[in-house]
């Protein structure tokens, strides 16, 4: 029954997160079918577990009845000189063993096995009985791989259930924490390295352009055409939530195509320790699959003199794309020279998602 409750708990957690509309705080909603799949499989297993518990209880009752009846029969047949006494002895031995099994784990199939044992015992010779019983014993073990035997498992099982309850509890009762600049720090993306950009699939091309080894000539051209045509035609590029990641990737892949063009996007400010003056990074967290593989995607922005921003201040920036040798990285980076910018409230959904 505990298993039933825990699986139900998982279903509730998944449903709760979906109903609250928080699914996109955890995973890229392109993969929301995964949670639907989880809910349906778990529901099926819940039903099966319920049937199992129900059957087990019924079997328990029947067994009690059968035992009572048997005791009566045993008393009657207990007379000496009975030809079947050996077999009878054998049978009671099996019952003892089965009871033993039951003591260790609530065997749901006991009843079925016993019926079979009884049938066999009635029709077959006692010698044949033994190996067959043996093989059933194995089957029985199979069914209970999950919990092993012995008294220590009581504690272990309690431990298992406790652990499985943990994500259900935190999923339902703890607030969703959006990833922000503090997580950029926690992840240790310090700026002397390329690590802010390390999680940005776009940066590499620009930072080290000789990556043609990764692209076959044809593949490179195809990719270039496909992605470029989406953005290169425009004189002004306004990145929205939907095309943020794709747009950033293109900007970093083909900076030459976009120099001098007007670009605008939203993001939170992040002041790296090495960023001097009115330079801020403007970032958004992007999900590939889920929060676990998320990273920051964005651009270095040169704000007008005297701009003071705190980490996590959300801004909308518009500016001209240029590049400069950025000393901390000792490399040329694309930089947005902000022509105008405004503060904005943090959007309801701060994340952007990769679409394929």
């Amino acid at each position: 029954m505990k298993r039933f409750v825990i699986m139900l708990g998982f279903i509730m957690m998944f449903v709760y997160i979906r109903v609250e509309g928080n699914l996109n705080m955890y995973i890229n909603t392109r993969y929301s079918y995964l949670s639907v799949m989880t809910i349906s499989i778990l529901s099926l297993l819940c039903v099966v577990e319920f049937i199992r518990v129900f059957r087990e209880e019924r079997a328990e009752e029947k067994r009690k009845e059968a035992k009572a009846a048997e005791r009566e029969v045993g008393e009657v047949l207990g007379a000496p000189g009975l030809p079947d006494s050996k077999e009878l002895h054998n049978r009671s031995g099996i019952h003892a063993e089965l009871d033993n099994h039951r003591a260790h784990h609530h065997g749901h199939e006991d009843h079925a096995y016993r019926e079979r044992e009884d049938r066999i015992a009635q029709h077959d010779h006692a010698h044949d009985h033994d190996p067959i019983h043996h093989s059933h014993g194995h089957d029985h073990d199979h069914g209970h791989d999950g919990h092993s035997h012995g008294n220590t498992t009581r504690l272990q099982r309690a431990f298992t259930y406790l652990i499985l309850c943990f994500p259900i509890y935190t999923g339902i009762f703890l607030p969703v924490q959006t990833l922000d600049s503090s997580f950029v720090k926690a992840k240790g993306f310090s700026f002397p390295n390329l690590d802010t950009s390390a999680n940005n699939p776009g940066n590499h091309q620009f930072l080290r352009p000789d990556t043609s080894i990764f692209y076959g000539k044809d593949g490179y051209d195809k990719l270039k055409k496909k992605e470029l045509t989406e953005f290169a035609g425009k004189s002004e590029i306004h990145l929205t939530d939907e095309d943020y990641l794709k747009g950033m990737e293109v900007l970093y892949n083909f900076p030459g195509e976009f120099m001098g063009k007007t670009v605008s996007f939203d993001g939170f400010a992040y002041k790296g320790e090495q960023v001097e003056g009115n330079h801020y990074f403007v970032f958004r967290f992007g999900f590939i699959h889920c929060a676990a593989d998320s990273g920051v995607f964005g651009m270095l922005v040169d704000f007008p003199k005297g701009t003071v921003l705190k980490d996590d201040d959300w801004v909308h920036v518009t500016g001209t794309l240029s590049s400069e040798l950025y000393q901390p990285f000792k490399q040329t980076l694309p930089v947005l020279e902000a022509t105008s910018w405004s503060r904005m409230d943090a959007p309801k959904n701060p994340y952007v998602y990769r679409s394929f």
Partner: protein
């Protein structure tokens, strides 16, 4: 000025962020684990030991190659594959084939390879490198492990054929035929009887078998689930509290770079469908060799599935497995770096 705020708020916030990462890992892994345990149940109920014995080559190398190839048909990730492997081994699949399957399964499958293709700019090169290296590493590791562990290193090994053969107290007076008769899977017995039965009874039997599949699935889910939860929690903590950037500074030589990418793959515990995108983002820092190490090692071994492995296999075996996978991935990545870097 910031310090008092940090002391009070930051730890709580960091924990909530950790929790968010943790839950997202759970949410992404559980569906695959569920599919894995159901497949495991289906194997238990519908695939007979005899059938496996028939198709499995006796030759050690051939069986390894077969095991390392069937992953193509099981689009599974590294969390779901442990219960499947455990069940296959219990059905009499030899160790080398089972491990070969377990190691390549999460890599050599259409979904993962397609994701790799996309992540690396629609190019097949990285796909072939990943595929080929994973196959070679898996085959080498499997063969060596099967030589080192002649006894099945499973915690609960229930394959009857070998147990009976090895057990000294095997019952006297049982002929060879009766023994095989005993070890036949119930499914086969059912099959043999089936023609005589009316359709209704037959349908009932199948329904009953499906019921058994689900029961096995539940058992398996509860035996594997706790390792998934603990593993995801550790991985999420690592992501939150260990600044991965410090690792990157160390990657000067090809050997160190490969080692660091292996460590990253272990710590990050990414799903094998997503890891190609992360790998491609490291292209600015690392060359093809270390990247291939990341792409091959991650799906084979990471924090999540190490705990699952520890729950299924003996400790010594798990450490040997991790050790050999590390060594061969290192060698492989250095070779790849030489050939393609």
């Amino acid at each position: 000025m910031l310090i008092p705020i940090d002391w009070q708020v930051a730890p709580v916030k960091a924990f909530y962020q950790l929790n968010t990462i943790f839950l997202s890992m759970i949410m992404e892994a559980i569906p695959f684990v569920l599919v894995g345990v159901l497949i495991s149940g289906i194997i238990q109920s519908f695939i007979s030991e005899r059938w496996i014995a028939r198709i499995m080559p006796k030759n050690r190398i051939l069986s390894t190659l077969l095991g390392a190839s069937i992953g193509v048909f099981f689009p599974s990730c590294e969390c779901g594959i442990v219960p499947i492997t455990k069940r296959l081994l219990n059905k009499g699949v030899p160790l080398q084939a089972g491990i070969g399957f377990m190691l390549t399964g999460p890599i050599i499958n259409p979904i993962v390879l397609f994701a790799t293709y996309i992540a690396f700019g629609n190019d097949w090169k990285m796909v072939f490198i990943r595929c080929g290296m994973a196959f070679v590493v898996a085959v080498c590791v499997s063969i060596i492990l099967s030589l080192l562990f002649p006894e099945m290193p499973l915690k609960e090994y229930t394959f009857q054929g070998s147990r009976r053969a090895s057990s000294a107290e095997s019952e006297a007076g049982i002929s060879a035929e009766s023994e095989t008769a005993c070890t036949i899977d119930p499914a086969v017995q059912e099959e043999a009887k089936a023609p005589k039965l009316p359709a209704g009874v037959k349908a009932r039997r199948i329904l009953d078998q499906l019921y058994q599949v689900c029961l096995h699935g539940i058992d398996e889910f509860f035996s594997v689930g706790k390792y998934l939860v603990i593993g995801a929690f550790i991985a999420a903590s690592m992501q939150t509290f260990i600044p991965t950037s410090y690792l990157m500074k160390l990657g000067n030589t090809p050997l160190m770079a490969s080692l660091i990418m292996i460590a990253l793959a272990f710590i990050m515990s990414l799903c094998s469908e997503a890891d190609a995108f992360i790998a491609s983002s490291f292209r600015s820092t690392f060359s093809v060799g270390p990247l291939s190490a990341f792409l091959v090692f991650g799906p084979m071994i990471d924090i999540k599935n190490t705990l699952m492995l520890l729950g299924t296999f003996h400790k010594r075996f798990v450490f040997a497995l991790i050790g050999f996978v590390t060594i061969f991935t290192l060698i492989g990545s250095l070779v790849v770096g030489r050939l393609f870097g």
